[in-house]
Symmetry: C2
Subunit: 494 residues, 2 copies
């Protein structure tokens, strides 16, 4: 088979204007990673590439050189360029990616969008781990500290004053007094630059991501996700047919340079800079600036999931990406579910001014608008400063609960070899001894009634080390110690 | 240019297995309607079509003959087949269809999904008409009759009993006691066949349509919509890239035979059989059976929007399509917004058993789950039979309000030449005299503070006659008469 045969399927991918060099690089890498260009396969000559794709030979040579440097290709003197037998370590082991694959139809569900099978697979891979309402489940805030009676009084008052004819309840962007309260709050506490016209009330972060995907992305666009990262984001972007690009991180958050080097064509960066989920790194200022500069130059969008920004205990918070951005590339998402209680589904987006109408329209056609009642109560709750008081109280309690859990783990669970309090967040990452398997540990947890989560649940690539995650925010110090001891006893039994 | 040139772009469309004859017919018609095959253009010979597309000549001849019969093509003896200069009346005037078009990027909103521009256009064409909270706006039920105090008491009770740890609040399908209450209710009142396992709680019909589109459709699939029809549906299916196929109707609802004749390849039928929106026809039993049979044979899905089924005054209701279906082809959607009050965003889907998991997953990745509070109160409201009592009361009041409005219009507004009470629904269709333009009439309404809607807002094709729609349900008989008189006075002024 002549090598030119390979080329036939390339040109369709070279649709965007500009940046030919990077696109060529990206296309070839994509074909290698997806297995369409198999290990050992000989590539066409640079001249052939250049002619068939109508691009300059320089672009081809530069791309091939880079891929060779990075270990994807091997150049054999006098013979040509071949796909490497082993692709670089840090990308190997990517699960057979959900997006581009169509699984065979099942007999139960004939004739549905093939993407639904992909989603089902994703759901099955992640959801069975979620032990609902179990002790130490993650993603749950201090629901026991929620001012239940105060909220009940506001509920009663709001309902008595409620007029069905209030036109402010009909706005697709959300109830204006709430948008104003949120806008004031995030400007003060998170350093955002925005007005209430940029605030869109949504039913939570999951919907926020959906709207952003709908407005900003087309099928096949590349999206960076934290690796490990949030499975809800993986679900949204997979459902819309994006190509998921896992980007690793460290204690300074997402490794922006890694992302730029590996996935330079990305259209959207999904990141949680205040607290990288789930490992907890805070994106450093220099990385923030690098990301913003790169996004502006490359017309990429940044989705800033400001997850956990209010659960910060020690180090000073860093200003949100949205506030640092000078090029209108950031879509900022905040949520109230963690700070209030699970079941309270309300969040918000802060969008660039010139996108506000697009987001409003997407929201309108998605579900018209978010339910009025919680919007109106929350507006009062924030405006009357109950919210700020609640945040202070929760922060203090959470810090203490984190300390108590850390100490209990260190004392009772020798199988956990690494755990330390984090600057922020509502769960602890507990690194396991090499003597125990993650799955065994999770099994012990389930038997002890604990909803801990395995780190692997959040990984697209094979993680280097094994860990489990314990949520600590929702329990009193006594219950935390009791839970950890129960697990220790359970493990001693077997 | 040789005629074969035309053919190059066809084969890609012939992807589905089976029904080659109908597909050929559909593809050619599509190219004519979209303007890709222009009036007067000569078609390739049947032999050429047959060879280029690798289909039998019989399929080609049969398709060409049918298109000629229907007036899309003209056969000239001894010369060949041409695209007709004027395409058939009932499809002419389709607005430059939103779906397939990419409008040029605007300077404000660079680099977004091109589909968002299409949505913006759609929004701008329909939304400016919606006079929010004006008297006689449509789609609003008897919000003045809502048992405000009773609901407030249930709200207080529910909140006092509310436990944040209640696992039933975490189910993506919705709060189980509510699903049970709804399942019992629709089985009794609407003749549905279902269990609570098939009920999915959503935030309203808009979200219901979105989930169905996501699970069932792929970009480019054909969807029948009522013509005129519901603009919210048009928005959802356009946003997901479906091809909209307008199907006309009459007093017996959607003209199923017309739909089958014109758009035999449709993947989804969106219809409101209890009360065709906005004209009010009720889908006859024979048409229901014809639609169900056809859908089963052709693997098409039916989305039954049971809009207004509870606002029925005179004739007996007909059993829902879902209850008549024996082939699991119907997705049934109900809403509580109209019966309760605007701002109360809660609805439900009844889905075929074998699709329940797909819908659950779509809902989970769309917005995790619907907010808990209204679900829990509504469950009690239905279970304690407050809901059934409220429906009876509303139905009686609405019937009276419809009568009062009909008489007031007949008495005070000679410009309206046709108005008669309908068996069901919460608005009146008022046909205009030929002496006045719809837009003029709407302008008068706006000046008089009335939120009437022009029929053309709901039309994909040019309507034969002009009409405006008045919502009557939200106002007392006195206010109805006062509103109509105010409009009459306003018109007399100019």
């Amino acid at each position: 088979m002549p090598p030119e045969k390979n080329v036939a399927s390339f040109p369709g991918l070279l649709l965007k204007k500009g940046k030919i060099k990077e696109q060529f690089y990206g296309v070839i890498k994509e074909l290698i990673l997806s297995g369409q260009l198999q290990a050992g396969r000989k590539l066409p000559s640079s001249r052939t590439f250049s002619e068939m794709m109508s691009i300059s030979r320089n672009s081809v040579l530069s791309g091939l050189e880079r891929l060779t440097d990075e270990g994807y290709l091997v150049a054999k003197r006098g013979s040509g360029t071949y796909v490497a037998a082993v692709v670089p370590d840090d990308v190997i082991g990517i699960k057979p990616a959900a997006p581009d694959k169509q699984t065979g139809g099942e007999t139960h569900s004939p004739d549905v969008n093939p993407q639904t099978q992909v989603m089902k697979q994703l759901w099955q891979e992640t959801l069975p781990h979620s032990g609902q309402n179990l002790t130490f489940n993650i993603g749950v805030g201090c629901s026991d500290l929620f001012p239940h009676e105060l909220w009940g009084r506001l509920l009663g008052r709001t309902w008595r004053q409620f007029r069905h004819q209030d036109g402010r309840l009909n706005e697709a962007m959300g109830y204006r007094p709430l948008r104003r309260a949120i806008s004031d709050y995030v400007r003060t506490t998170r350093g955002l630059h925005c007005t209430e016209e940029q605030i869109l009330i949504v039913s939570g972060t999951q919907q926020a991501m959906n709207l952003a995907a709908q407005v900003l992305l087309q099928k096949g666009d590349e999206v960076w996700l934290d690796e490990p990262g949030y499975d809800g984001a993986l679900g949204v972007f997979t459902a819309m047919g994006a190509k998921i690009r896992p980007v690793i991180g460290d204690q300074h958050g997402m490794d922006i340079a890694y992302g730029i080097r590996h996935w330079p064509l990305a259209k959207l960066i999904f990141t949680s800079p205040s607290h990288q989920f789930p490992l907890g790194g805070t994106l450093s200022l220099s990385r923030r600036m690098a990301l913003l500069d790169w996004a502006a130059e490359n017309d990429a969008w940044i989705f800033e999931d400001d997850y956990n920004s209010e659960f910060r205990y020690t180090a000073q918070p860093i200003q949100a990406l949205q506030g640092l951005d000078r090029h209108q590339r950031v879509i900022y998402a905040g949520t109230f579910s963690k700070m209030m209680f699970p079941g309270f589904h309300l969040g918000f987006l802060v969008v660039p001014e010139n996108l506000a109408e697009h987001f409003k329209i997407a929201k309108y056609y998605a579900d018209t608008r978010t339910s009025y009642l919680e919007q109106t109560i929350l507006a009062t709750f924030i405006a009357e400063e109950h919210y700020a008081r609640h945040v202070r109280r929760v922060r203090k309690a959470c810090h203490e609960r984190q300390r108590v859990m850390t100490e209990a783990i260190q004392r009772y669970l020798p199988e956990i070899v690494g755990v330390e309090p984090s600057d922020s967040g509502i769960h602890l990452v507990c690194w396991l001894s090499e003597d125990i398997e993650e799955s065994t540990m999770i099994e012990h947890c389930r038997k002890a009634g604990l909803g801990a989560q395995p780190l692997s649940r959040y990984c697209q690539t094979r993680p280097e080390k094994q860990a489990i995650l314990f949520g600590f925010a929702a329990h009193s110090p006594e219950d935390i110690v009791a839970g950890i001891r129960k697990l220790a006893q359970q493990m001693a039994k077997e």
